[in-house]
Subunit: 220 residues, 2 copies
DNA sequence: GTCTATAAGGGGATAGAC
DNA sequence: GTCTATCCCCTTATAGAC
């Protein structure tokens, strides 16, 4: 009688409710974990502190994510899925002009720093520390899409639409410039003497980066 | 008889030899500590592993640096002294033209990433994690020198020598672009499919950043 | 799913002999 | 200055009751 057949469309209330609880708890854990990993790094974050922030006991948290490493990998995965989906490539607007495509890319990346600063910081921590957990993922996912973007930029150069710059350095500089408003926000806030960055700061950053880079590579 | 007066120019051999040992050991510890803190962060670096890399026992290491935090602060201090001395300001060449001053600044910063990548990574880790240890130092040292640099850029703009860009964003972008070749070298190596960056990569980075930014702000 | 209890180990730091 | 021995806390993770 306690055996519940795993029927899809006739799921008993009990089972359905359990899975809703699981989803809610997992989502909450992932959210606070991202925040804490961003602020304290992997080693600096105690499982206990994550559980506390999520409003449950450590043991209960470990019921959902059996180990800290598994949880960390899930946090990374969540970030990367978002980045790959929205950020990595230029190619989602084939028809546009180079200047328009590049400017949109830059503005989207700054916007990502504004809306997902913690994800960016977790990612930055990972990379600085040698990318122990996501080296493979980057090799399998980042490289190919970047190659396509590089080829696109090369085609613009060959068509005489922009200056003959090195496309790799172009992307490295765009990534660095846009992500710095998330990763180094502490330093930026410090010198700007404010507690946190405001809308206008991100706006100013987008404008500056887009203007300087587009003009700098001969697209404006 | 065992009491040695602290005379300056008549120091007994024994004391002098001891102090040489101390200096050598401290230097070696600081060096390997910078490397390990860069790769693993503060929390990810065991005192034991620093001692081992320095070729001595943990207890012996703690004789020179009584605590891990004291050692870490010294590592940070060492990096910052170097940066402040050589990097932070534009002002050491009053006579030059804006384009020349800015280009030199950019090239020096890329060079810093090449010659002191570990220092840059330790610094980056600190900032990303909210600058717990060097917030004060930055407030006392970075802000003032930046303000001077910002004022200088403003004077260039007022003199009509360059486009009216926001000087703060200019510096944030220069910092990010130049430091990324140290901090994110793992990612850069990954997509360039090489084990480490070479001379020509830094050269290419300097050229790209200097060209794009100078042209981008109307200085070329 | 959640709790109490606890195992098991790592890591920072100190005491004291030599 | 260096070594042996040790303390003790923090942290991850598991066992088992409810």
């Amino acid at each position: 009688m306690s055996e519940l057949p795993a029927s899809e469309n006739d799921q008993p209330k009990k089972a359905r409710r359990r899975s809703v609880i699981r989803e809610n708890h997992e989502a909450r854990i992932l959210q606070v974990a991202e925040d804490l990993f961003a602020r304290n790094g992997f080693n600096g974050t105690a499982v206990d502190s994550i559980a506390e922030a999520a409003g449950m006991s450590k043991q209960n948290m470990l019921y959902y994510f059996p180990s800290k490493e598994i949880l960390y990998r899930r946090v990374l995965q969540q970030i990367l899925d978002l980045w790959v989906e929205k950020m990595v490539l230029l190619l989602d607007q084939d028809g546009g002009e180079p200047a328009e495509i590049l400017e949109n890319y830059i503005r989207r990346k700054v916007d990502m720093s504004r809306t997902h600063p913690n994800g960016s910081k977790v990612f930055a921590n990972e990379i600085i520390n040698g990318a122990p957990y996501l080296r493979e993922y980057l090799q399998e996912n980042l490289i190919d899409s970047l190659e396509k973007d590089v080829a696109l930029v090369r085609s613009w150069i060959e068509a005489g639409k922009m200056d003959p710059v090195d496309p790799y350095h172009l992307f490295f500089v765009i990534w660095a410039s846009t992500q710095t408003y998330a990763d180094f926000s502490t330093q930026i806030c410090l010198v700007m003497k404010k507690d946190e960055l405001e809308e206008t700061d991100y706006q100013g950053a987008s404008d500056f980066i887009a203007n300087v880079i587009l003009k700098g590579v001969g697209l404006r």
